[in-house]
Symmetry: C2
Subunit: 329 residues, 2 copies
């Protein structure tokens, strides 16, 4: 496909009767040294000539693309998409754009994506890493751009982190259900060990409950019927009251409705809870007590931290860790 | 945040004892004119110096960022996220990266995003537009890059389109349920008129059924309880067998489980169907007959068309319209 021969900065300057420097300042949103009237003339000329600034050339000058790279674990989870919605809500108001990279819960792919983030001119990176392995992450991140880590906690992170209180939230919920007599727990999770969030939630539950069954479900491929059967048989085998505890919303959404319609969840001997990232889970289980996270707020907060980093060279006031608590409701 | 003084191409050339031209060819993946051994020397030098190629400078040379912009309607819908998963599955294998822009079902935002796509160096654009208004879209798209339109059909589109058979799929499903005696239909949809897909599905249903109630649900904010009540009262007021027809998966996921657990959906006098984009809907309604779309395949197909456009200057063999049919299952 051939590129159109398009107008250049000189043409815009000529038509709007200003210097190229003025056009350049206009393109870089530096309107301090020109009148509104001049700015309007330049804008009209750009529209008239259908001029598209060459971002490559522009970036050489401004070193700014006004784009923030957002690398998330898996856009099949509402957590990741709501996180991005929250980030965008803040970026929008500041003239920045969030662009989303999806790791698809694949470590190889995360490395590939970070390569391309490193080699492109993004102004910042908001990163929900798959791993908490600092050495691995340090290897992935080569660029000296502002970075905010979100959701997955990293030991000794040199970057600000926005996380939730996974251990406490899971422990407190478990304590509450235990006082209601739920002693047997069936945990629904993806592979627990790869994500700090799941490890902490699992440990929070284990710190209270002794009779715990765990079903780890593959995000890539799993047989819904088989998992359903496995849950049912675990319910039946137990002579204690059973709590089904989804430490990932997706499994709450996928398995609880079926168990409800089949009558296994009577909220007497068997009930369900889990971490919930959206109103959808609430809508499907109106009666259930759920641990509500706020990924939208977590996203908005990490975008605010990013803005502070971008606007403040030595970033004094930036908190190293921001905790957005999840609550049982 | 200050940028580290980083190595440049000259340093890499010196350390690897090759010409700058060779380093440049290496960076542009043009390995035809160097030995494996040379390529390895350059790679080692890049790693040793922790050299990050300046993409801006590089893009001046290669005019390629190896990034494809993907602008979708709303990542809260599995349709949009599965679409992107399908696109990425193809791009990955070709060394391209898909970057996701979320319109958040907001026309103003779509225009803002397209501005930034226009001014950045993307190699191509895969676009799920909110509107089917060609004049509006022509205004948004300024860059002469390869473009593929997906999901929302545009009249007289100058760009290849990958769509589904919305009218036929909805009509055929409605015919099938009518023969089973379902004469009263409650349509659950977002605002119908803004999206060609919904218009076509609505018309497909209307072409068969006469007794049709429509509930348009706001994607931005709606009261779940009120909508639930509205559906129930429409079920009760009808003396004919009622079909609840969700022409958007999100409303199927949000409202059908509640109606099932409250016993309104008995699959005798009241049943539910809808367009489904994922296995999740199937998992929640194992017994329901759903119209299965294949957004993953639609994404993969649009990425394949994009690759053809990128690899073939006059793009002869490219189909102007590719239809991925949805089927009642």
């Amino acid at each position: 496909m051939k590129k159109k021969q398009s107008a250049n900065m000189k043409d815009v300057a000529a038509l709007s009767q200003v210097s190229i420097a003025t056009v350049s300042r206009f393109l870089n949103n530096d309107l301090s040294r020109m009148s509104e009237e001049t700015a309007k003339r330049v804008k009209d000329a750009i529209d008239k000539l259908n001029y598209v600034p060459n971002s490559a050339a522009r970036q050489m000058v401004t070193k700014s693309s006004k784009m923030i790279a957002v690398v998330v674990a898996n856009i099949d989870d509402y957590f990741s998409t709501e996180l991005f919605k929250g980030i965008s809500s803040i970026l929008e108001s500041t003239g920045y754009i969030g662009v989303l990279f999806d790791t698809d819960t694949n470590q190889k792919r995360e490395i590939q994506l970070m390569d391309s983030v490193n080699s492109q001119s993004f102004d910042g990176l908001i990163f929900q890493p798959l791993t908490s392995d600092m050495s691995l992450i340090e290897n992935e991140i080569r660029r000296e751009i502002p970075i905010v880590i979100v959701d997955r906690e990293i030991e000794l992170s040199p970057w600000p982190q926005v996380i939730t209180n996974n251990y406490e939230a899971a422990r407190n919920a478990m304590l509450k259900f235990q006082t209601k007599g739920y002693k047997h727990v069936i945990i629904l999770s993806s592979e627990i060990n790869i994500a700090s969030t799941r490890r902490e939630r699992y440990q929070g539950i284990k710190s209270v409950a002794n009779n715990v069954d765990v079903i780890e479900i593959s995000e890539k491929s799993h047989n819904h019927k088989d998992i359903h059967k496995e849950i049912v048989s675990l319910i039946k085998k137990s002579d204690e009251k059973t709590l089904i505890f989804a430490i990932k919303e997706r499994w709450l959404l996928e398995f609880i409705p079926g168990l409800m319609t089949d009558g296994y969840i009577d909220d007497m001997n068997v009930t369900a809870t889990g971490f919930s990232d959206t109103d959808l889970a609430r809508a499907i289980e109106p009666k259930a007590e759920l641990i509500e996270q706020n990924p939208f707020l977590m996203g908005a907060s990490s975008a605010e931290v990013m803005m502070d980093l971008l606007n403040d060279d030595d970033a004094k006031k930036i908190p190293s860790k921001l905790i957005i608590p999840a609550k049982l409701k």
